[in-house]
């Protein structure tokens, strides 16, 4: 299974990640692809640099896969995240989830991206025309008043 949860410093092929989860018993594959956006809150990004604690990040991606199979037993998940220097529109992450029926593929895929942003040790540094900065958590669905995840979020 470890091939299903990868950190790489190379270009990610969407087709390759999708092909890992296509199988006769599934009828739906939901894919989430994160790409480098040029403007965030009006500020222009020139490029990004992603750093990761690679072995732990792969373990945490696999944990997300396990969590998904706990919640959606018929789901099969593959996730690849790229690190290093990425430019505008480059693909940073590809999540693919196959399920027998479509509703679960959406829900499980959404769960995966939210969990990546909670527990996977990957960090993004934005480079702008006038500076650079490591970006803190960017959770859209949840905020941590303490500035960090609660224990139950980390251990899933």
């Amino acid at each position: 299974m470890s091939n299903y949860f990868r950190i790489t410093d190379q270009f990610i092929s969407v087709e390759n990640v999708v092909n890992k989860v296509v199988r006769p018993e599934s009828g739906a594959v939901n894919t989430f692809i994160g790409t480098v956006r040029e403007f965030t809150k009006g500020k222009r990004t020139l490029y990004l640099h992603y750093d990761a604690y690679v072995p732990m990040a792969e373990k945490k991606l696999a944990q997300i896969g396990d969590e998904i199979q706990g919640k959606w037993p018929d789901a099969l998940v593959a996730i690849t995240h790229r690190i290093g220097e990425l430019h505008i529109s480059d693909i940073a992450v590809v999540i693919a989830v196959s399920t027998p029926h479509r509703a679960d593929s959406y829900d499980a895929s959404r769960y995966a991206i939210e969990r990546i942003k909670e527990i996977v040790p990957i960090w993004k540094k934005e480079h702008w025309e006038d500076g650079e900065s490591w970006i803190g958590n960017q959770l859209e669905t949840k905020s941590y008043p303490t500035g960090k995840p609660e224990e139950e979020d980390l251990y899933g």
Partner: protein, 77 residues
């Protein structure tokens, strides 16, 4: 000895990817203090900590050969 891995802003602050600290028998919080005082890493209060690639907390007691990582707020995806 305990190996301490540094990433992202912590790596930049310390100017290195890892340090070795004589912390066996001490809790993780001891490593945190050393990083603050000796390596100029000041933003550790927002960090999580992992020992041997699993999240844990500041009171975990370290043993010889452990690998500690301070995890700044993550921003993958």
């Amino acid at each position: 000895m305990v190996k301490v891995l540094l990433f992202a802003q912590f790596q930049e602050a310390a100017g290195r990817e890892s340090v070795e600290i004589d912390a066996a028998g001490h809790p993780v919080s001891h490593v945190k203090s050393v990083l603050k005082e000796n390596y100029g890493i000041l933003e550790l209060d927002d960090a999580n900590v992992a020992v041997n690639e699993e999240y844990t907390n500041m009171s975990t007691e370290l043993k010889d050969g452990d690998t500690v990582a301070f995890i700044p707020p993550v921003s993958g995806g």
